[in-house]
Symmetry: C2
Subunit: 262 residues, 2 copies
């Protein structure tokens, strides 16, 4: 059994230094409560509602050489934990809505959001990494970001790649994900950790309700609609690696790919 | 706008004639309440908990030449409606857990359940038809049966084939589908009509809670855990054919198949 956590926080728009402080405080709290893996929200460092590309350009950082990854590497080393955090990535030719994975030994990898939501398309390039699963030793952790949840193929792909846990940084504005994520967990027999943000930014209200769901669809811990908080739950990888639903049904072996349209 | 309905009923095990009577009464009620399409439960004619293949053999009928299809054709013609009904199919070389589609003009087609649940594997052959969508004029109706819901590929495939409405005959024993089907409706922007059975058969309890969900994930009508009843709702195919979630997101156009594992 290993502890995993979401950090639900309210980033300050265009103020990474303040957000590093918030993330540090809440990550330490999660680790003190037993988490070996801590998931921070989407764009935890920059906020979400950019007015124009110039605002994004002023705060986006390269990965792994930029300031945000350096901060996360330091925090992971200092706390002895793994962290998955959503961040604005500056890259050659544009920006990505990305997630960084770091651990006590440093940088692990990154993921660039596959499915961009609404105005994100104005500022970010669609992710080109594809879905990624990182073997952290105690668990294989797949990453998807916010609106990726809407497409069942996202969680399915991560699960087929071997994910035990889906780390899901989010900045949710639609009301559906808290009801849908337990279904994603169930249909793939994985754990899901949705780290959502709270608060309002330039008139956009975020929904909070960060949650951890089990392969049984049970919601193990859930935050409220408002308030900065952490949620911690225990993950049993023997459960996520057992795809048997009953004596005769294995939800992966029972798939009949010959009849599925991609 | 067109009316669609579920029939929630309690079949009598191994007693098709009694079940035809029940189905007739409830189908007439649904049509009187405005339904042009009526969905009956899985195995509405035979019941579910067979002790052995001999019991199944005694009641299973060929499709379309058997007694159950004849009854459904008569009922559809007499009521001027379309009916999707789950039934035990006798075929060369074995039995299928199937659904029949009939309309005022007669037989339309059939579907054989793709994903068999638990003990069904002892009696039925896995479906070999693949998923099917039938254009009934007022709507394109896709069919899946009970446990097919668990696999997101089932509803996804039907939606990609053009289904406006997913007719979902069921004999649910797990508690999840009433929470999952609105997610299936939402992620595919289709209507779903789950016609579940109620009652207990040889110690197996069925969950009822038949429901119709909209492309918005809204549950338009839902039955209780017990009781034979019908539920009717209006379907707007202009909604199911519009896959735009907002100004910039179309949930089909936004799919990034190059990153999905099948």
């Amino acid at each position: 059994m290993v502890g995993v956590a979401f950090v639900q926080m309210e980033p300050e728009l265009l103020d990474p230094e303040t957000n590093y402080c918030k993330a540090e405080r809440l990550t330490r709290e999660a680790v003190e409560k037993g988490a070996s893996l801590v998931v921070l929200p989407e764009l935890f460092d920059t906020g979400y509602v950019f007015n124009d590309a110039g605002e994004l350009e002023a705060v986006a950082q390269p990965i792994p050489s930029g300031r945000t990854t350096e901060f996360l590497e330091w925090l992971a080393e200092d706390t002895g934990s793994f962290i998955v955090a959503g961040t604005a990535e500056r890259a050659d030719g544009g920006f990505y809505n990305s997630a960084v994975v770091v651990g006590p030994e440093g940088y692990v990898g990154k993921y660039r959001k596959t499915h961009l939501f609404n105005r994100e398309k104005l500022f970010f390039k669609p992710g080109d990494t594809g879905f990624r699963v990182f073997d952290l030793g105690f668990a294989r952790v797949g990453v998807m970001i916010c609106f990726d949840w809407f497409f069942p193929e996202s969680a399915r792909t991560l699960a087929l790649m071997g994910a035990d846990v889906i780390a899901h940084p989010a900045n949710l504005v639609m009301p559906y994900a808290p009801r849908a994520m337990p279904v994603r967990a169930l249909e793939n027999r994985v754990y899901t950790v949705t780290a959502d943000r709270v608060g309002e930014e330039r008139g956009v209200v975020f929904t909070g309700m960060s949650q951890i769901a089990a392969p049984t669809s049970e919601v193990l811990v859930q935050a409220g609609r408002t308030g900065e908080t952490v949620g911690v739950a225990e993950v049993d990888v023997s459960l996520s690696r057992n795809k048997k639903l009953n004596e005769r049904n294995d939800v992966f072996m029972d798939r009949r790919r010959e009849f599925y349209l991609l």
